[in-house]
Subunit: 240 residues, 2 copies
């Protein structure tokens, strides 16, 4: 409606001071910006699975031409976050049961690798404070039922391990399945006793890393993910 009457409002005329490179051009959002925003909304469930993403609507909201929304949607499709059917538009993919288990198999392989590489590339002392964290404070968080903070801290550890692994290709692949793990972790961790079991496994893995035992760290990380998957299978009726 109002979209066509929008006066072009000197968006770029004679203001070359801000070439586009940056992330947060306040003039208008770039395609990567849009991608990140939409990705965040999908990951946080702000946009429910199955919801339709209308191009014109989004274009109006962000104040950008529809073409740019289109490019962002194409990127989301490549990442598997939305599905587009010709002339039907884009809808947020809902992860089905089989895909969930497939992702756990992937996590077992990828995060196991990450644990091994991180152990190999860092001096053992590097993990000292993480061992301490999981031994004490994290246990308290679980006991208090503050799972949000626990998950937040765990996510930070996860990022530190990925960074320490220093393998960009691996990081990229873990990033691809990030949104989905994000959702799954929150669903599994509320299962009875699961949080404490997970903490114990993380602690064991970290202690192996602190010993510099890369092979054992990989094995323990994989074992942890396998039991998580088993838990998910057992309780799938309640979780999904």
């Amino acid at each position: 409606m109002a979209a066509k009457k929008a006066p072009t409002t000197a968006r770029r005329k004679a203001v070359p001071a801000r070439p586009r490179g940056g992330a947060k051009g306040r003039a208008s959002a770039s395609v990567p910006d849009l991608f990140q925003v939409l990705r965040g909304r999908i990951a946080s469930q702000a946009i429910a699975p199955g919801a339709k993403l209308r191009e014109t609507e989004l274009a109006a909201e962000f104040g950008v031409p529809r073409t740019r929304i289109r490019d962002a949607l194409a990127a989301l499709e490549q990442r598997g976050l939305v599905v587009r059917e010709p002339n039907r538009g884009a809808v947020v993919t809902r992860l089905d049961l089989s895909q969930v288990f497939h992702i756990y198999d992937l996590r077992e392989a990828l995060e196991g690798l990450a644990a091994r590489l991180a152990t190999e590339r860092m001096p053992p002392e590097h993990w000292q404070k993480d061992v301490a964290l999981f031994k004490g404070p994290m246990k308290d968080l679980i006991a208090q039922g503050d799972l949000d903070t626990y998950i937040e801290q765990y996510e930070l550890l996860r990022l530190r391990i990925i960074e320490a692994a220093a393998n960009p290709v691996l990081a990229e692949m873990l990033d691809i399945i990030y949104e989905k793990t994000q959702v799954l972790i929150r669903r599994i961790i509320i299962l009875p006793g699961r949080a404490e079991i997970g903490r114990g496994q993380h602690l064991a893995t970290l202690e192996a890393m602190r010993r510099g035992d890369a092979a054992e760290a990989e094995r323990l990380r994989r074992e942890g993910l396998r039991t998580a998957k088993a838990t998910l299978e057992k309780y799938q009726r309640y979780v999904l």
Copy 2:
């Protein structure tokens, strides 16, 4: 002109005869088509690493509007096959040494997983003919120096294993690094004695699969890739 159907997205509606614009009866290539063609050229080194891809040029060659080339280039960029700089255009990425080793670590994790899943999901007899293939004919091919046929057959086995693993997410990830492995395999296999060593390891893995020993199949596949990586490290001056 190789495969034109994109495996990931089924775009075709197949009914209407494309009444676009009137005159020409030529159906123009879709974005997935263009993606596949360009991907093939990059994988086969028909377009050298570092070469520039000019949009107007490609648009003229394929007889499609430039916008469509743009979308295809965006997809290639997401896959890491080209790098685009603003106003500078797209150039084919050249894989550097560190990335090569990173990819081998990934292959170890991913193809190991594929071997395990394939073993678990298929009856042991399913691999009988592959064992026979690697025991006899493949040995002859190497002895005759017909490495192209050998690689071709190996690629087919690789695809069968991935298909048997029945994990679409895993398949997608292996697909992402496909082009790069493609190039690397051809460089490693010409090293002295390497082809025969590789064959022996593939045979051992296949025999574990025929025994239904999934864990051992995974271990052997991983071991094979680790030695391949070691060979690459040893001879990197000659290969890269």
